[in-house]
């Protein structure tokens, strides 16, 4: 898996339902999100089959963002079989994200 999936309200629940999925919640007006994006892309390149890597523009997935109680971006949430297992608020480095994915295996 090398690319980052782009999710919206239409395919969000379906994508995170099974397995381990890392989701980066972002928006184009948010400067720190512009730093988180490349970090998540880096994770996608390294992660192999351990997890799906996705991003959600909160403008296009307001329902998902609302249900998860997201009040700040960037927020990165790691899901396992549909349930959030770890949540990171603010720019989070690759190392922390990779070890969270390893823990969730």
């Amino acid at each position: 898996m090398a690319s980052v999936l782009e999710l919206d309200d239409g395919n969000f629940s379906e994508t995170i339902k099974t397995g381990v999925t890392l989701v980066d919640f972002w928006a184009p007006w948010c400067a720190p999100c512009m730093m988180q994006g490349p970090i998540v892309e880096g994770v996608a390149k390294k992660v192999g089959s351990k997890a799906k890597i996705a991003k959600v523009n909160v403008d296009e997935a307001q329902q998902a963002a609302n249900e998860l109680g997201i009040r700040a971006i960037p927020t990165v949430i790691l899901f396992k079989d549909g349930k959030p297992v770890q949540q990171f608020v603010g720019v989070t480095q690759e190392k922390a994200l990779m070890s969270a994915i390893d823990e969730a295996q």
Partner: protein, 304 residues
């Protein structure tokens, strides 16, 4: 071996990069924790000379970078984690990599302060925010608090009125440090309310913020206020931890520079921008001192 390594990419670091690159020093610029610096979260910059119309902080910093790139400055993402002096040169750690350089320009700026109460950390990202432009849209038709009395607090409060039902500015003392023009804009905004002199003692809620307990700093009276968001704008602390063994800092942690220069107490190490400015903290001042740092570094290299 590099001639000049610049750490930080706010107005100071990028101005130093423009000047050092034009002097053909081929500066290596390490982007730091916040590429573009504090300004990137400013919705509108109205006081940078040369821009008669408001420009977003992100756009302004993009232009700074473009100018530095045009003259050949090299950029590296990431941050410096340690600095060591070695025979008159310097070794910088960036992740697992070591960079050797003859001079260092410190332009790491300052980091937003957090509220000194445990419940702030608990609710960070759950209603507590340090970035109004990032998170304001989550508070459409809700009640929010802005903590602080400086320019950032006023600007955040005004920006948040686009989304929020009400914005309450909470500040610990009567005196507001913000520029009169910003205070007046906030005062004349019908959505903005004031609680002065009050402080937040406790943030309450279950999963998300639902309110805060405030204390009057003179009478000691406490009051609980319902709110969904709390935006913290109580100032910044200089990011100097990794440099304190190397250069002299003042009590607050700002790097000390010699008057009318960017020279620190260590030869070949220069500082510019908010990291050494306990007084003005303005983009245009940072840009000016960035220029000074590059010229001082150039002169130092020529004399060596």
């Amino acid at each position: 071996m590099e001639d000049v390594v610049i750490i930080g990419t706010g107005p100071a670091g990028l101005s130093a990069a423009v000047y050092a690159a034009r002097a053909d020093l081929k500066p290596l610029v390490i982007e730091g924790t916040t590429p573009g610096g504090q300004l990137v979260v400013s919705y509108e910059v109205e006081n940078y000379p040369g821009f008669p119309e408001p420009i977003s902080g992100m756009d302004l910093m993009e232009l700074f970078k473009k100018q530095a790139v045009r003259f050949g400055a090299k950029f590296l993402a990431g941050d410096v984690t340690a600095v060591k002096a070695l025979d008159g040169d310097y070794l910088l750690n960036r992740g697992t990599e070591t960079i050797e350089t003859r001079t260092v320009i410190i332009a790491t700026g300052a980091l937003a302060r957090r509220l000194p109460i445990p419940s702030e950390a608990k609710f960070y990202g759950k209603g507590v925010s340090g970035c109004a432009t990032c998170d304001g849209a989550f508070f459409r038709n809700r009640d929010v608090i802005v903590v602080g009395g400086g320019n950032t607090a006023m600007e955040d409060a005004i920006f948040l009125t686009r989304f929020a039902k009400t914005v309450t500015i909470v500040h610990r003392r009567e005196y507001l440090r913000a520029a009169p023009i910003e205070v007046e804009k906030a005062r004349s905004n019908p959505k903005i309310q004031w609680m002065i002199p009050w402080v937040i003692e406790e943030i309450t809620g279950d999963q998300l913020v639902t309110g805060a307990t405030l204390r009057h700093t003179e009478t000691g009276e406490t009051r609980h206020v319902a709110c969904d968001g709390i935006f913290v704008a109580i100032g910044h602390d200089p990011q100097t931890e990794i440099f304190r063994h190397l250069v002299k800092c003042d009590k607050q942690g700002f790097i000390k520079v010699q008057p009318w220069s960017a020279h620190t107490s260590a030869l070949g190490v220069f500082a510019c921008g908010d990291v050494c400015d306990p007084v003005y903290k303005q983009a245009v001042v940072a840009a000016g001192t960035g220029c000074m740092a590059a010229l001082d570094a150039q002169k130092y290299l020529e004399s060596k």
